[in-house]
């Protein structure tokens, strides 16, 4: 496993390739459908939030307040990323995002932006909400909670060796495109 700590440099990202397993430590921000649409339409990040060198996590966590009144993430796996395809590449470039964690992969526009910007797409394990929640050590803050609702809010999270796999790298390779092409060929032989 390759360990990465935020903020991540372009050089570190350029060193990653499809198939690498990584563990991310530091701070990550959740952001999904509402946040991507909002930022793409010219919306501003909340004060004090920077994605520079950072990691955006496509996730709508289950977050509960404990007895002391602190937020605790109780379930937090990735959501399907392809819905952010219209926005992701531009947001990577505009806000200096180095890594996006999600599931299911993304398309050509995002892959091109990974190359141009020096960014990667990191695949979390879909459905593994408990294993991944255990890697979240602290909720630092939440933004847009009222505006977008809990799953769609920006949650600022401290993470420790959060596991993911590089499935789209900054050198133009996409595991998703490769698997889809190979499986299509096998399908054609079997129908």
């Amino acid at each position: 496993m390759i360990e990465l700590t935020t903020p991540i440099t372009e050089e570190q990202i350029r060193g990653l390739k499809v198939g690498d397993e990584v563990g991310i430590s530091g701070v990550i921000f959740t952001g999904r459908d509402a946040v991507h649409k909002y930022l793409h339409e010219g919306g501003k990040l909340p004060e004090g939030v920077s994605f520079e060198g950072g990691v955006v996590y496509h996730c709508g966590p289950v977050v509960m307040k404990d007895e002391a009144g602190d937020w605790q993430v109780t379930a937090a796996g990735p959501t399907t990323s392809i819905r952010e395809e219209p926005y992701q590449g531009d947001i990577m470039k505009k806000f200096g995002v180095r890594g996006v964690i999600g599931k299911g992969g993304m398309g050509p526009k995002t892959l091109a932006a990974c190359g141009e910007n020096g960014s990667v797409y990191l695949h979390g394990i879909g459905g593994a909400a408990q294993v991944l929640a255990e890697r979240i050590t602290k909720v630092r803050n939440v933004y847009f909670l009222e505006k977008f609702g809990s799953p769609e809010a920006i949650w600022e999270l401290e993470v420790d060796k959060f596991p993911a796999v590089v499935t789209m790298d900054s050198h133009g390779r996409s595991l998703h495109a490769e698997v889809a092409e190979a499986s299509q060929a096998v399908l054609e032989e079997n129908i």
């Binding site: 509402a34 709508g60 392809i82 299911g104 879909g126 459905g127 593994a128 909400a129 408990q130 698997v179």
Partner: protein, 288 residues
Amino acid sequence: MESLIEIIRRTSAEIPDDVQRSILAALKNEKEGTIAESAMKIIEKNMELAKKKSQPICQDTGSILFYINCPVGFDQLAFGDTARAAVMEATKKGFLRQNSVDSLSGKNDGTNVGPGSPTFHFHQHAKDTVQVRLVLKGGGCENVGAQYSLPNTKLNANRDLDGCRKVILDAVQQAQGKGCGPGILGVCIGGDRATGYDFSKTQFLRDLDDRNDNAELDVLEQDVLNTANKLGIGPMGFGGKTTLLGVKVTAANRLPASFFVSVSYMCWAFRRHGAMLKTDGDIGEWLY
């Protein structure tokens, strides 16, 4: 109400035994040292942790689908009220995510109760028992479901079982890893557009290792399963041996003019439980 909260808790946190067995067999089957194997190991650990901590297996606690078998004269209105209250309470306890959004305003009121949530499918039966089954179906897998109208020129699929096979396999190819595979398919051949999808989802109530009573459909199920697992899509679409864990197919009558094949995709986090309720409302026996 306590019984329904417990059914929700158990469904959200505990993978049914039949599914767990199938996942563990698939894990053994993946090649050592591959990312497919890593993914399956995380899935294995996740099932254990969720059960131990009594927390959601997946943060997307899904569409809340109740299937109720009840005797004639059963008060469906009262059951609906109780179930909605149980859903609200289970949400407060964190067994369900605040997961239901007003489609017009975009507001999420955090209760999980609103038009179409939860949904109830009541079936009367000639017995005096009440059976409540619950399926929690996440959005990632719901989004890769597909409905085909045959004939389909592009896929060279005609109005026969071979045509059905072609479009079902196309749905698997289109889904790739986006539905959180390895997945389980529920399929309905025929029906109208609404009943087609409805019936396809009732296939998820079957035990994963059962066999279809209908010989033709049994052959189709096994064939689609085996062929899909040759495609190499694998867990999470990472490439690998297990693309599907199961295929369940039913058929409904259709109009002469229509021939739909409705495919529902269920993720590996196949959350389905059920219980027989005693006359006092307590849980009698678990159904899975």
